[in-house]
């Protein structure tokens, strides 16, 4: 075997395809670019294969079983629902899982989940950043006292995850929390939720959505006249979602941790080597959009982990076990990013055997009616608070999953 097999779980079909396809394109194109430009990684070609999950747990698990036999070096489920059943399997099958800023937040703890990675931030990090941002706007966290914050979320574990933190913060900082759950089947039919928003008149709205829920929410917000500059989201909406709100969507804000646009040399390379050659499924104008670049970031991590693994083992063709080690030694500092043609694309990040997340800061960006504009400096998560959540969650998981194996994998030092 003289190639490295990288399966990509994607969903270009189904109710979440609108978000999923851009991510899929980004993931695919970056890796394909490496193949085209550099002949792969470390001279080994990457075999990139997509497996369509349709965001369906059943098919996701099927995809996993299907790729398992082909020596995959890493798996990206791109769905919390699929990630959960894969977590226990990964450890047994020795296949690392990369669930980038989604999945089981507790898996940030490398000492307990050696095979799972969820950089660069957890949802708790995200929530704390948003609250911090709101505090800043109000002139200090203490000014949040007496304020009302609405939380519009997908009614699933993904959407519910930040609630405990939010409630804890509300107690401490004295603001009131209103919850507006949106069921998966009502993603495009949120008038009830927004009616309630009109009743409660929250000072800020925070959104935790995916797929067509984001676009639906933005539309409804515009319709019901909610002030858009008070409407903030975690990092999942894309340009399409914002655009669907029309002119009224101007001012909508969201967290993000990487650049948009195609000005980065690596993205130019993608343009040249992949898109222009017709090797991409993305249309030109979508390249460089938010979710596309999210996919690029995902592949950046994969590629970096593979490269690290090659360095660590001295082998050319690496296995899942090696890539797990490569993942743990990821260190993307500005110099490295520059070398990769992604200078300024994202904040630096370093993972370790203990920390599989990084808890990196993210920044706030605003929709100006046609594109995203960065409007804040990186906001660091509230470390202590997030850590407490994480500790509790990790302990909880290990406790409830009696017989959860102790970490046996050795620890590598970043090179």
């Amino acid at each position: 075997q003289d190639s490295i097999y990288v399966p990509l779980f994607t969903y270009r079909t189904g109710p979440f395809a609108g978000s999923g396809m851009h991510i899929a394109d980004g993931m695919h194109d970056y890796l394909e670019m490496l193949n085209q430009r550099d002949g792969g990684i470390g001279g080994v070609k990457l075999v990139i294969e997509e497996c369509e999950t349709g965001y369906d747990t059943k098919k996701g698990v099927e995809c996993y079983e299907a790729v398992k036999g082909k020596n995959p070096v890493i798996v990206n489920p791109w769905s919390t629902g699929i990630t959960l059943p894969l977590i226990p399997r990964a450890a047994v099958d020795k296949i690392p899982i990369l669930s980038m800023a989604y999945g089981l937040s507790a898996s940030a703890r490398g000492d307990i989940f050696p095979w799972v990675f969820n950089p660069p931030s957890t949802y708790w990090d995200g929530m704390s950043m948003i609250i911090k941002y709101i505090g800043d706007k109000e002139g200090g966290l203490d000014k949040l006292k007496g304020k009302k914050i609405g939380f519009l979320h997908l009614d699933a574990s993904f959407g519910k995850e930040p609630i405990p933190l939010l409630e804890e913060l509300s107690k401490e900082l004295g603001f009131e929390v209103k919850l507006y759950p949106v069921a998966a089947q009502d993603m495009q039919n949120q008038s009830s939720q927004w009616l309630s928003v009109r009743r409660d008149r929250p000072d800020y709205m925070i959104m935790w959505g995916w797929g067509s829920m984001n676009g639906g929410a933005i539309k409804e917000a515009v319709r019901s006249g909610y002030p858009m500059d008070k409407f903030l989201s975690v990092w999942w909406p894309g340009e399409d979602d914002a655009r669907s709100g029309g002119a009224g969507a101007k001012g909508f804000k969201m967290l993000n941790w990487h650049g948009v646009g195609t000005t980065y040399p690596a993205l130019q390379d993608i343009m040249k080597n992949v898109v222009d050659k017709g090797l991409s499924k993305a249309s030109k104008e979508k390249v460089g959009e938010l979710l596309y670049n999210r996919g690029v970031y995902n592949s950046l991590l994969i590629a970096e982990a593979i490269a690290n693994a090659q360095k660590l083992t001295g082998k050319k063709v690496v296995t899942g076990e090696d890539v797990r080690r490569g993942m743990e030694t990821i260190k993307l500092d500005p110099a490295r990013l520059k070398a990769l043609g992604l200078e300024g694309f994202a904040d630096e990040i370093a993972l370790s055997c203990v920390d599989h997340n990084g808890h990196r800061p993210a920044f706030m960006q605003e929709w100006d009616g046609s594109k995203w504009v960065k409007i804040s400096d990186p906001i660091a998560p509230m470390g202590d608070r997030v850590r407490a959540q994480l500790e509790a969650a990790a302990k909880d998981y290990a406790e409830k999953n009696a017989g959860w194996p102790k970490r046996a994998e050795a620890c590598d030092k970043a090179s």
Partner: protein, 318 residues
């Protein structure tokens, strides 16, 4: 005690305190009701006229909307695109009749139901193959749908009316009135009901099932197109829109599978009930109850009238 107060007193106090919000809630309920009814209507048409429970109605809505938008994106003028889409729905109706229904004549309802599920699968695959999975925007402007909002101060507070919603209500009422007349007054309408009762007997008196089916599937296709435009203008056009068809089920059942006016009344009851329930009582249990409230409302009505409010009586004779 407290819980009783919260459940039975507070909501009503709140209603009287903020009548403007109540009005807004009712309006939103009415509008969603109309929109549900538009989807339900497609079901009713086909069920009433052939006894087939058409699982594919939801995807037909998406398919019609996607075709319209897709054609427009290819540079076809909006109104021409609308016509062409109607043509596509006609072709679909003919194909469905030829390939699916004709060989399954006189089979039990559930089998035909299953066949429409196969059709759903097929259309999902075909639609995504042709149009891709990315969501699209409905060409509301090009179709001269009113946009904008009117904000009136009523009952001591601002109440917002979307022009689009008003348009939806008007269009839906027109369609429903026309169909109601069609079914009860015309020769074809009567034949449609006959077919729903018994394929075999309908065949024996010379009603051409093939022709009838093309007609109703085409009509349902047009209704799907209208629903697709309205829903699309509200929520965008994507495959996840088909899930909303599930909301049409309680509407359908509440109104009665076979009643055109039932679809609209059922829609209104479900729409208003759901919104008012969620708005005033939802917070008691953490919200989100509108996912099941519609079904429970429908269930309660059914216990009282097992054939739905306006459904044909279920004949029980021996």
């Amino acid at each position: 005690m407290d819980i009783l107060y919260k459940a039975f007193v507070e909501p009503f106090l709140f209603m009287s305190e903020a009548p403007d919000l109540l009005l807004q809630t009712l309006w939103e309920g009415l509008v969603s009701g109309v929109l549900y009814a538009l989807i339900a209507l497609g079901f009713v048409l086909i069920f009433k006229a052939s006894g087939v429970f058409n699982f594919a109605q939801g995807i037909m809505v998406v398919f019609a909307a996607l075709t319209l938008v897709g054609l427009y994106e290819k540079g076809v003028p909006a109104l021409l695109a609308l016509l062409l889409t109607a043509g596509v729905m006609l072709l679909l109706a003919i194909a469905v009749e030829r390939i699916v229904l004709r060989p399954l004549v006189n089979q039990p309802d559930i089998i035909l139901f299953m066949a429409t599920f196969g059709l759903t699968y097929f259309l999902v695959g075909l639609g995504e193959l042709v149009f891709g999975g990315s969501p699209k925007e409905m060409i509301a402007d090009a179709l001269y749908l009113p946009q904008g909002t009117t904000e009136l101060t009523l009952l001591g507070g601002p109440v917002r009316f979307q022009h689009l919603d008003i348009a939806a209500a008007v269009i839906a009422s027109i369609i429903i009135a026309a169909l109601a007349v069609f079914f009860s007054r015309t020769r074809i309408g009567r034949a449609l009901r006959a077919v729903a009762d018994s394929h075999k007997a309908a065949l024996s008196v010379g009603i051409s099932l093939n022709q009838i089916w093309v007609i109703v599937w085409f009509a349902a296709g047009i209704v799907a197109l209208v629903a697709g435009i309205m829903w699309g203008a509200r929520s965008g056009v994507s495959f996840s829109l088909q899930i909303i068809a599930l909301k049409a089920l309680p509407v359908l059942i509440l109104g009665g599978f076979t009643s055109v006016p039932g679809a609209i009344i059922g829609g209104l009851i479900v729409g208003v009930g759901e919104k008012v329930g969620e708005f005033y009582w939802g917070p008691l249990v953490g919200g989100g109850i509108d996912t099941w409230l519609a079904y429970v409302i429908a269930l309660l009505f059914l216990l009282y009238r097992p054939q739905g409010l306006f459904g044909e009586r279920i004949i029980e004779r021996i």
